[in-house]
Each structure stands twice: as C-alpha cells, then as structure tokens.
C-alpha cells in the first residue's frame, strides 16, 4: 500500500480549493465572458464609433479633456484618462480594455452584494447586472464613461454600507474611482445610491457616514465640478421633453422602465428588442427579481444596504417616470430653468441604474429562495429541479435579450480612421500658434463610413483629435416623428458663430467670413467632406483662407486674415 504524502492535498481539499477559487473569481469570469460575448467583433483591431463613444488615435491631453474647454465639461475626466492611457497603449486597445472593465467590474461587484453563500445566486446577480436593457441601451448610445460609473455602483454600495468610521474612508474613495473617471453622470449616479445608504442608519452614525460619503463624492467630482462652476454654460430646459423616457416595447412606458429599458433614442435599442415575446419575458424576469428582493428584505439573509438601495431605486424610478407626464416634465423644466445644475435630471433613463442593481441582487435572492424552499429535501428530483431553475435564472437575461450579443448583432464593429484624419491631426497639433479649430459641417454628429453604403452615427471625432479648442455645434437635434427638435447648445462661442452658418451646415459665403472667424479666435477650419450635404458649395471663395490639406475626405483651411 503506497504511503500518502502529507504535503499533497487530498481530493476533498482540492475540491474545496477549486470551489473557493470559483466563488472568488467566478463572477469576474462571468463578466469577462459576457463582455466578450457582448462586444464580439468590437474586440478586434480598430475603433468602435457609436454616438457619444469616440476614441481616436494619438488622443491629446487637450484643454477640453482637462475641463478647460468652452462648453460644459461632460467628458471630463474620462477623455483625459483615455488620453493618458493612450500614451502607453494604442487608442483602440485602450477602448477595448475600458469596455471590458465595465463588464468585469460590474459583474464582480454585483455578485459581492449577494448575501449568504451560493455560487448560482452570485453568478445570477453577476450576469443580470451586465446583461440587461439598461446596459445595452447606454452602450448603444456610446456612453462608456457612464457605464464605468455603473460598473462601480455595487462597489460604492458595499463601501457606503460598511462605513463605520474614518478608517473606512480609503474603501469609499477606492469604490468611487470608476465614478471619478466616468465624470459627471457617473458621480450623480453614485451619489444617488451612496447617500441614502449612508443616511438610513441611526442618526449619529448617519451624520458621520453622510459627511464622509459627501466628502469623497466632492473630491471625486472635482475634475469636472470646478470647470463646470467656472463655465458660462447653460442647459436648455427643452431637453426635458427631448430626453424623456419612452416606451420601447409594446407593453408601455411603465413596463419598459420596470424592465430597465425606455431610453429616449429609438436607435439605441438592440435588434429585436420590441418583440412582444421577449418584452413579456423581460418584464416577468424583472418581477421575479423584485419578488426575490422582497424575500431578501423580509426573510432572507439581510443585506446591510437594503433600505438605502430600495430608496435609491425608487427615487430613480420616480425621476424617470416624471418625464412621462406633463406635470412631471413641467417640474423638471422649472428646476433646470432655476439652476442649470439640475440639468442631469433631463435624462430620466439614467436613473434606472440603481433599479438594475436592485434587480440583479433580487434575482440572486429569488434563486436562494427557490433553493431554500425545497432544498432541505434530499430527493434527487427535487435537487435536479432546483439546479434546473437556478440555471434558468442564470441564463434568462441572455436568452431574453439576445440582441445584445456579438456587438448588438453587428451594430458595434471596429473601423479604422482613414489616414487623412491622422495627417490633419498632425498638421494642426504641430502648429505652435494658438487659435481654435472650427469643425464643419455645423452639426454635432457625423455619419462615419463603416463600409460600402454603411455608416455609424458618431460625435464629431475632430473634437477629440486636436490639442486646441474646437468650436462645434453642440446643439442637439433629435427627430421626434415628423418634428425636428433642437436642444440649444451650451458653448457661448459656438452660439456666437452659429448665425454665420446656413441650413446645410456650411458657412454662408460672406466677404468678411474670415475676419469674423478670426475675431472669435478661430485659426483653422476643418471640413469633413463626407458629411457635406449633396449640392452644397463650400463658402470659402473669398480671401482669408489658405488650404493646408485638401484631400478627398477632409479639407483643412487656415484663417489667414
């Protein structure tokens, strides 16, 4: 009989070690797998361009990225972080890593919030948090910086709930790092969940915890808060009507919101999203998750953040619902009119993030409930039924939202910037003289070619490419049925230049155009020829402009007057 080696682990010890490994790293692995499945083709070389998601090669650490541009610092400090990472890695690799981080961080964080043991329940929470309509719609709107804050939300919840004294401050600060990078909207979301959790405890501890959380939030917000307070940017109250939530399924607005959908942009929903079967399935899944949350609160293992997260989710849902009735929209408009700082309230769908987290943990609660309600029995059939249902809960988010897979069925796909873009970028950035770049056509969004007769709509890449102020039309145009609604821009210089532009987004051919642009501090004019409307003529016939680059895609002019 061979002697046993005391240093060698027994099969039982190995199984225990493997189980421990799975509990620790399984949710992050699920997040990574979900990220790979969602991004799919987007993981390949090239840049994924989609609405607000613009990564560029050789992104400069421009004044705008640091918060010292003319408009509201919405992309601060996310653009600066992307630019810093871009100094050591290619821009497309930076984009891929940041997007994958959203999935890994979010899944691991959501799983950590599940009270009690159980890999199945933790896995269900992990997957539900990174595969749901909220994430899908925000990703298709290109709001990667917001999603970074969304991914950090569970960590903020955990840190706020565990706060007992100043020694816990580093944990709160670390949890707020994703929100700090994400910027403005991410910080608002983090405040929405962290403050109720800090407040809803005995009053002495509530004051201390709230002060600590507020202090950390203020520090995390400094990069954008200081420039925001210093800027003259305003918010158009009309944005409330344009960005109000809407029904994106046949089940109506309330059902859409409960299912974590309802984004204002009909082009930011995954393929097949409005199909009744899937919509009903997602609503049922949300109701199961809410039931599971209720069970966790009343009978299950008590999470320490229950009241705070419930309050945050309810408040968020209320803000989103406010946009669905005229009275609610009136209140929101009045608040924004009163103080532009209420501007974030215009995008109601944003505030569903706490509900997404609550539902993810609630789904885990439902799995635990089902397991405990029959788990004491030893019948093999009962155990198999428990496992089958746990498997269903685990896979349901994916099965009910297949349109998110593989880059939302090919919607997210990488493209390369034509070389002309890099040439123009180099020419502008090598010029030591000060002066802004005017980007034309006079429209915030571009159709960027992704292949033959195919384009993706994306924010003008020139804004991120050059190391000098860029004057662009930051007014937002949204089609609402037959009507074209316009949300006024926030940049005062752009508002002064706007009257020089015609309906086709190009300057009217006036003799003193160069002088007037020079008076506004414009040194360069960049025209994206691929976005110039057919039949339009470039209004630079008069003197005062010198062509620096004249290619088939881009025209770069220097204002010489």
């Amino acid at each position: 009989m061979p002697a046993t080696d005391p240093a060698r682990p027994s099969p039982r010890q190995r199984r225990a070690a493997f189980s421990c490994f799975l509990h620790r790293w399984g949710p992050a692995g699920i997040g990574l797998a979900a990220g790979a499945a969602v991004l799919g083709p987007a993981l390949g070389p090239g840049y994924v361009l989609r609405y607000d998601m613009v990564f560029v090669p050789n992104a400069p650490l421009s004044p705008a990225a640091l918060g010292w541009g003319d408009g509201f610092p919405r992309a601060v400090p996310s653009d600066a972080v992307a630019a810093l990472l871009g100094m050591v890695l290619p821009g497309d690799v930076v984009q891929t890593l940041l997007l994958l981080t959203v999935f890994v961080l979010g899944a691991a964080g959501a799983a950590r919030l599940v009270p009690g043991p159980g890999l199945a329940a933790r896995s269900a929470a992990a997957l539900a948090y990174v595969w749901n309509p909220f994430l899908a719609e925000r990703l298709l709107l290109g709001q990667w910086a917001l999603l970074l804050g969304y991914a950090g939300l569970p960590w903020v919840v955990a840190a706020a709930a565990r706060y007992r004294g100043p020694r816990d401050l580093p944990r709160v600060g670390a949890a707020l790092v994703p929100a700090a990078i994400g910027g403005f909207s991410s910080a608002v979301l983090s405040a929405l969940v962290a403050l109720p959790i800090a407040l809803l405890r005995p009053w002495r501890r509530a004051i201390a915890a709230s002060a600590a959380v507020l202090g950390c939030l203020a520090v995390a917000a400094l990069p954008w808060l200081v420039p925001a307070l210093a800027s003259a940017a305003t918010t158009d109250p009309a944005a409330v009507d344009v960005f109000a939530v809407r029904a994106d399924t046949p089940l109506g607005t309330v059902a859409s919101l409960l299912s974590l959908g309802g984004i204002w942009n009909a082009r930011a929903v995954p393929p097949g999203f409005a199909e009744p079967v899937g919509a009903v399935g997602r609503l049922v899944l949300s109701l199961v998750a809410l039931t599971g949350w209720g069970w966790l609160l009343r009978r299950g293992p008590q999470p320490g953040f229950q009241a705070g997260l419930t309050a945050a989710a309810a408040a968020g849902l209320l803000v989103a619902l406010a946009g669905t009735v005229e009275a609610g929209r009136g209140v929101l408009r009045a608040l924004i009119d009163l103080w532009p700082g209420f501007g974030p309230l215009r995008d109601g769908h944003l505030y569903l993030a706490p509900l997404a987290l609550l539902q993810a943990v609630g789904l885990a609660g439902a799995v635990q409930w089902w397991g405990q309600s029959g788990g004491r029995g030893t019948a093999r059939g009962s155990r198999a039924a428990t496992r089958l249902l746990a498997g269903c809960a685990l896979l349901a988010p994916v099965v009910l939202l297949p349109g998110l897979a593989w880059g939302a069925w090919g919607t997210l796909r990488p493209v390369d910037y034509p070389h002309e873009w890099v040439t123009v970028q180099r020419l502008v950035n090598e010029d030591p003289h000060e002066g802004a770049l005017l980007s034309l056509p006079w429209s915030a969004y571009r159709g960027f070619p992704t292949g033959k007769d195919a384009a993706t709509v994306v924010l003008d890449p020139a804004i991120k490419m050059v190391d000098r102020p860029v004057v662009w039309n930051d007014a937002l145009r949204v089609r609402d049925g037959e009507q074209l609604r316009v949300v006024a821009g926030e940049d005062p210089r752009a508002q002064r230049i706007a009257p020089l532009m015609g309906d086709d987004g190009l300057p009217r051919d006036t003799p003193d155009l160069a002088q007037r642009l020079a008076a506004e501090g414009v040194r360069y004019v960049l025209v994206d020829r691929t976005n110039v409307p057919e039949g339009s003529s470039l209004g630079f016939a008069h003197t005062g402009f010198t062509a620096v680059h004249d290619g088939p895609l881009l025209l770069l002019l220097k204002v010489t007057d």
């Binding site: 609405y51 709107l141 344009v242 809407r246 204002w264 942009n265 009909a266 082009r267 930011a268 995954p270 393929p271 097949g272 199909e275 079967v277 899937g278 399935g281 029959g374 059939g381 009962s382 198999a384 039924a385 428990t386 089958l388 249902l389 498997g391 269903c392 896979l395 349901a396 099965v399 009910l400 297949p402 349109g403 069925w409 090919g410 919607t411 056509p441 006079w442 429209s443 915030a444 969004y445 571009r446 159709g447 007769d453 195919a454 384009a455 993706t456 709509v457 937002l476 145009r477 949204v478 089609r479 609402d480 049925g481 074209l484 609604r485 086709d504 987004g505 976005n531 409307p533 057919e534």
Partner: protein, 46 residues
C-alpha cells in the same frame, strides 16, 4: 413533484422564448439599417 414540474415548465418556456427571440433578432437585424447620407445627422430619433 410540483417543484420538478415547475422547473420543467420554466425551462421549456425559456427554450421556446429563446428560439423565438433569436429568430426574430436574426431577421430584424438583417433588415434594420443605420441612416446613411443624411443631410445632417441627428443625435437620434425618438
């Protein structure tokens, strides 16, 4: 026994929904197109 029946029913329903939704997504994604060559591009459509 009830637990087994419930689990089987949920599993079967999910399988049916999966088949339907994947088929629908495959069909709709082939027909839906992004806007190309617009006069000026919008932020989106409500």
């Amino acid at each position: 026994m009830v637990r087994i029946l419930v689990a089987c029913a949920v599993g079967a329903a999910l399988a049916v929904v999966a088949t339907l939704t994947v088929t629908t997504v495959a069909t709709t994604s082939a027909t839906s197109v992004e806007p190309v060559n617009e006069t000026l591009y919008n932020y989106g459509d409500r």
